[in-house]
Amino acid sequence: MHVLIVEDEKSLHQEVQQFLLQSQYLVDSAYTYAEASEKVFVNSYDFVLLDLGLPDGDGLELLREARQNDRQEASFIILTARGALDDRIKGLDLGADDYLPKPFSLLELQSRMQAIMRRKFGLKRQEMQFGGGFQLDATGRTLRFEGQDVSLTKKEFDLLHYLLLHKNRVLTRLQLGEHLWGNVLEDDSDSNYIDVHIKNIRKKLSQFAPTDFLETVRGIGYRVTEAN
């Protein structure tokens, strides 16, 4: 998977780069509009992570340019801190595949990238096997154990799905909460909603099989370990 990071802020650039490298992506870098424009023209990427406010140009212009180039089939994800309300609409109109306002979670970025890949390659059903017999279908939003339906609420389902997407990674309550509540501004970061969700998920799943795969990491968060 070949990714071009277009971001002029060096520290952020490095963090995104480090994260993607760890996740086994092939990463290319551009810090300016000119650099990015050249790379997009010459190379072919799977993803371009595009910051809009570049020192020597507008990222939207780069997107427009790239979309006119037939050979460039990269999916564009716009990353911006400008907070301008019509950037999102403009970006999606110009053919961006997704839009993440800064600050964003790297895990969220990764799961968006995975979703785009699934869309792109027409994977209708994305089935995930875990915990010795559970099957989670993200598209149909169903969870089954050996053919039997396991009933979860919307948030419980989203939470479990997110943990499965980031298998073997500790996810903090904040990261999980941010995924569940997205743009809603919550001011009680200490709330225990996530703990209650996890408790309920464990309760529901344990009627079918042990839930050892869903670990609590004390003081930090939760993790789904590779079971099978």
């Binding site: 907070g83 301008a84 800064k102 964003f104 609420t153 919550e186 970061s189 200490d190």
Partner: protein, 440 residues
Amino acid sequence: MRLEAKLALFNALSKLLLVLLGAVVIPPVVSRVAVGHTDQRLHEKQAEVMQLIRRNGISAFVKGEAYADYNILKQEYITLTPLPAASEPTGKPRIFDEPRQVDNEIEDFRILSYNFNIDRKEYRLEIGSSLATVELLTDTLRHMALWVLVIGALITIFTDAAFAHYLLRPLRQLIVRKLRGVHHPSAFSYTPLETDTADFQRLDESLNEMMRKIQSAFEKEREFMSNVSHELLTPVSILQSRFENMLQDPELGHAHSLKIVDSQKTLYRLRNTVKTLLLIANIENEQYLRDETVSVATVLAEVTNELEDRLAQREIHLLEDLEPDYVLLRANRTLLFTLLFNLISNAIKYNNWGGSITVLGRPHPEGGYTLSVTDTGPGIAPENLPHLFDRFRRFQKGASAPEGYGLGLPIAKTIAEFHKAQLTVTSEVSKGTTFSLRFR
């Protein structure tokens, strides 16, 4: 009332006044003119008769007795009467109205009476003109004048109205094309108005000029917000990514992991504060559009769907009673969602375990709608109520004042105001709190 209607009304009233004035003034004027005309004719006839007398001699008319003559329809008569000697002096002709009997009929006459002296004898010449004739004439004249006046007035009322309509067309276009339905400078049309009326041209130009200034101020504000946003959120973004990467490091010890999770929380608080301030600033600077038709029930359903787990977790019963639903014609769906989400999320957060929330929607007889969210929580102390919507105000901890209603309420208030709605709160300690949203 529209300008055109006012003009037409004024026009019609002034014409009516003119007609009334005519009705009052014309009759006396006409009768004076008619009388003057009759008198003139009487004088002319007198001169004619006197000429005849001088030519033919008085004896041709008066042979001892008085002479009298009248025409067949008795409209006019002439008498010549010899007078006793020196009874009345010769003088100017007098004209007066008097009844006279002519051929057994009494009629009113306008009479010219003239005493004259010929061959040392006194005579009186009387020439009468029937007043009925005069009145007939004045009536005809009066009617004609009034009709001309009325018809003239009607015609000018219509032509004036038509002209005013034509003349004010640019103004109507200005209102329809440029003012009505323009809620945001970006929706304004700068195409010049087609008119050769200098006043309208100037109005149009000033309007365009003003709108340009407003728009440029908007653009500057937008740019400023965008820059501020960038400057504040970029460092937060860097730290957030860095913490996430650090947590993934397998060599990180548990103690440090805990510190990073803690830092993450601190950063999250900072992030939320910044985002809240930016959101409020953006709403207050009209950077959001209100161009959607939104049903309150639909948004409420979305909100409760998002919050169903939280309701269930605290075993709180939510009662929805919208009778009927309310549809906002000019709203921002995303913001409205945030508003309702904040109200109901607060009602969950500050409720007792197993309590209830009532969402009540009722129309007002005089128009508008009130949506209220009532919880069965511990309530808010009266001294804290006035400051509930203040940004960043913290309350003393206590049973009746949960620490920090946070930024949810200032946001809710700002969004309500953006939708021209009023957000108010009433609360009773240990009974519950009601937030009411009054749409107009």
